[in-house]
């Protein structure tokens, strides 16, 4: 029997939160790392531009929803009109739980849970708001942030002792995985429905969840905003020059949609959706792909495997070795292999899309997928 020591690091962190006024001394370098959580959607610093979210230069002192040329949600614009100006305090509240502070914001981000991360990201962002930095700093020191602190104290997730059983294998290394641990990580689903959780959701329920969490990247109808992935349409294009491979046109199994959305979406905020949300979204994606047409259609654990995707039958095993160029015993030609002088039939320069080249990237073809 082994015992886990009580996490000393955790205790230290909790103590730090209580002892120091929030955000007093965030670490800019650490904040740059935290910004990775934002960089799927935001840019900051020289050359920053609007992406999924607005650029974040000169943020401190800026009215909410006011960056020029960015299309905000109504909620964010209203917040700005109502007098919301970004400073350390308001940013702390917003970044802790964006949707609690501004209902209807389209920022699909769960929030930063750790005080330390909040302090650090603000310190980092502040370096791009030169004018306001000093002032904003002083406001913060007097304002301990209660909500986040309260959240950090809960030690429930880290039990004091965890009784574990050693491995009985040949090396006796590792320990037996506990049922709760397996449940936490084993979320994969197979085409036969193995792994599906209890739950359900309708197309109509999926619509607003999609609009709020997915449409900003994947487009209102799954058509894909900019170069973000297309999720719907493309039926009948697989034989064309530029096939559009979507859930409806290409994917063989619905289980993959549920599995993938639950494990990896929304991009930058994975594992934030409830199982019912994922059922509803999966139903909605079926609707966007014209596989169901009834908004009241409800997808659940019970009826899941009865839904088949149209392209299922078109997947075949790897038969590369049957291709003529791989024929057995082929002796490659060494001389006089082509009749006359060899001609150039295509040049990269014609459609040159090599990076570092001046010019327009938009017409580039192909992709890495």
């Amino acid at each position: 029997m082994l015992k886990f020591p009580k996490s000393a690091a955790f205790a230290a962190l909790a103590f730090a939160v209580f002892a120091s006024p929030a955000l007093a001394d965030g670490d800019v370098a650490a904040g740059e790392k935290v910004f990775k959580k934002c960089s799927a959607c935001h840019t900051v610093g020289e050359g920053a531009r609007h992406r999924v979210g607005p650029e974040l230069n000169e943020l401190f002192g800026r009215e909410a929803g006011s960056a020029e040329g960015y299309k905000y949600s109504k909620a964010m614009i209203e917040a700005g009109d109502g007098g919301l100006v970004w400073d350390a305090e308001s940013l702390t509240e917003f970044l802790t739980k964006p949707k609690d502070m501004i209902k209807g914001t389209k920022m699909a981000f769960a929030g930063l849970k750790k005080q330390e991360e909040l302090a650090n990201i603000l310190a980092y962002l502040k370096t791009f708001s030169a004018a306001q930095a000093a002032e904003a700093g002083s406001v913060v020191e007097e304002q301990p942030v209660e909500t986040a602190a309260a959240e950090t104290v809960e030690p429930a997730a880290e039990p004091e002792t965890m009784v574990v059983e050693a491995s009985k294998g040949a090396f006796g290394l590792g320990r037996v995985a506990m049922p709760a641990e397996i449940v936490a990580w084993d979320i994969d689903i197979r085409p036969d429905g193995t792994g599906l959780p209890e739950g359900k959701g309708t197309v109509a329920e999926g619509d607003p969840i999609y609009a709020e969490n997915c449409a900003v990247c994947h487009g209102d109808f799954g058509e894909g905003a900019g170069r973000w992935p297309v999720l719907a349409g493309g039926q009948g294009t697989l034989l064309k020059d530029r096939p559009v491979k979507t859930i409806g046109s290409y994917w063989p199994y619905l289980s993959t949609v549920f599995d993938y959305v639950r494990r990896a979406m929304p991009f930058g905020d994975a594992r934030s959706l409830s199982d019912d949300d994922v059922y509803a979204l999966t139903a909605y994606l079926l609707y966007l792909n014209d596989i169901v047409d009834d908004e009241t259609f409800e997808l659940s654990k019970q009826n899941f495997t009865s839904v088949r995707l149209p392209n299922e039958g078109n997947f075949i095993p790897d038969d590369r070795l049957s291709e003529p160029h791989y024929a057995k015993g082929l002796e490659p030609c060494m001389s006089e292999c082509k009749p006359g002088p060899v001609k150039i039939t295509a040049r990269a320069q014609i459609i040159d899309v090599t990076p570092d080249v001046e010019g327009d990237d938009a017409n580039a073809g192909g992709g890495i997928d």
């Binding site: 197979r190 170069r227 599995d259 994975a270 060494m334 580039a364």
Partner: protein, 427 residues
Amino acid sequence: MVDRTEPKPTHPAASRRAFLKAGLMGGAAVAASAGVARAAGDPLITEIQDWNRYLGDGVDVSPYGTPSEFEANVVRRNVPWLTADPVSSINFTPLHELDGIITPNGLCFERHHGGAAVIDPADHRLMINGLVDTPLVFTMEDLKRFPRENRLYFLECAANGGMEWKGSQLNGCQFTHGMIHCVVYTGVPLRYLLEEAGVKTNGKWLLAEGADASAMTRSIPMEKALDDCLVAFKMNGEALRTEQGYPLRLCVPGWEGNMWVKWLRRLEVGDEPWAQREETSKYTDLLADGKARRHTFVMDVKSVITSPSPQAPVTHGKGPLVISGLAWSGNGTIKRVDVTIDGGRTWQTARIDGPSLPKALHRFYLDINWDGSEMLLQSRAIDDQGLVQPTKNALRAARGGNSIYHNNGIQTWHVNNDGVVENVEVS
């Protein structure tokens, strides 16, 4: 056109060197250098250089060494238009600048689907669950107590060359072939870990899962898992780089790079594959008839000339020229590489130099005396299974133009009289 920016000269001597070099590049190489020598002697030799007089840095200046400042151009590069976002994207190994068969850790191409996760090894866990006698959890410390192996393997993204399926697009073997690297891995044979948990008799497939924000997953046949897969924590002797899955990654030798799950946190044993997103929506090969191949795991026999190539033109004029390249096969070793300079009319067998190890890069050379006329360079690899690298046209004839993955077609570089190199296709 191609970025060949020289690093900024910092010493006066260095700019003299650049001046000389520019002179040499003018064409009549031999005459020019002989001329300088006749006049007053090469100042790099006749004058005492700064580095020959003043002291260099001490041993405390760079505790972790970096490449020479004159190698600043040797970097991974990405192609911004390929993906919506640099977080789920790719960059490419600068193959044209490298030699031998080992890729330096900092130059190994990156492909991740939710950014490079940062994980403290003390916080990392590997779980084995599913059809096993005892589901287990390992810490990094546990894993380092199993017997280890060291193996040199290439890792190639199945989409390497994917942009070239429809025709030549990118001018540089960094971009056409740079989704590959080859390093020595240190790790535990996956077999030991699976045996520790005890695989049930109906355990035929393995699902490998990453701990990153994409929770990357791939199904792997049990036969392969028990054969030569490794759970690795070191590359080229040092810890894995963050972007290569620190602290733990799976090695699936010879098979699609996407299967080499990084930040490996879970292995589940099952009786059927899982049909995850990366084995249905992606990494399936659409054919001309609308059918799509799945589970195309093995990376085919392939080669490319890395120099000369568009980013590495011939700058020295006619005379001795080293044609250098890489060859590899997911089936095993490379038996032979042939090179042509006339677009495939006549071929010569190149010299493979250095170790020839299964599922690793092989370095080949053809040393020629270039007469300064145009060349159409190609290389063609043959592996120990007797499989011959096909032409791009043969691949298109068999699969159409929409396969994206597994493009192992023969690459053609056109070298003009001035030594400028271009990515072309030939009749």
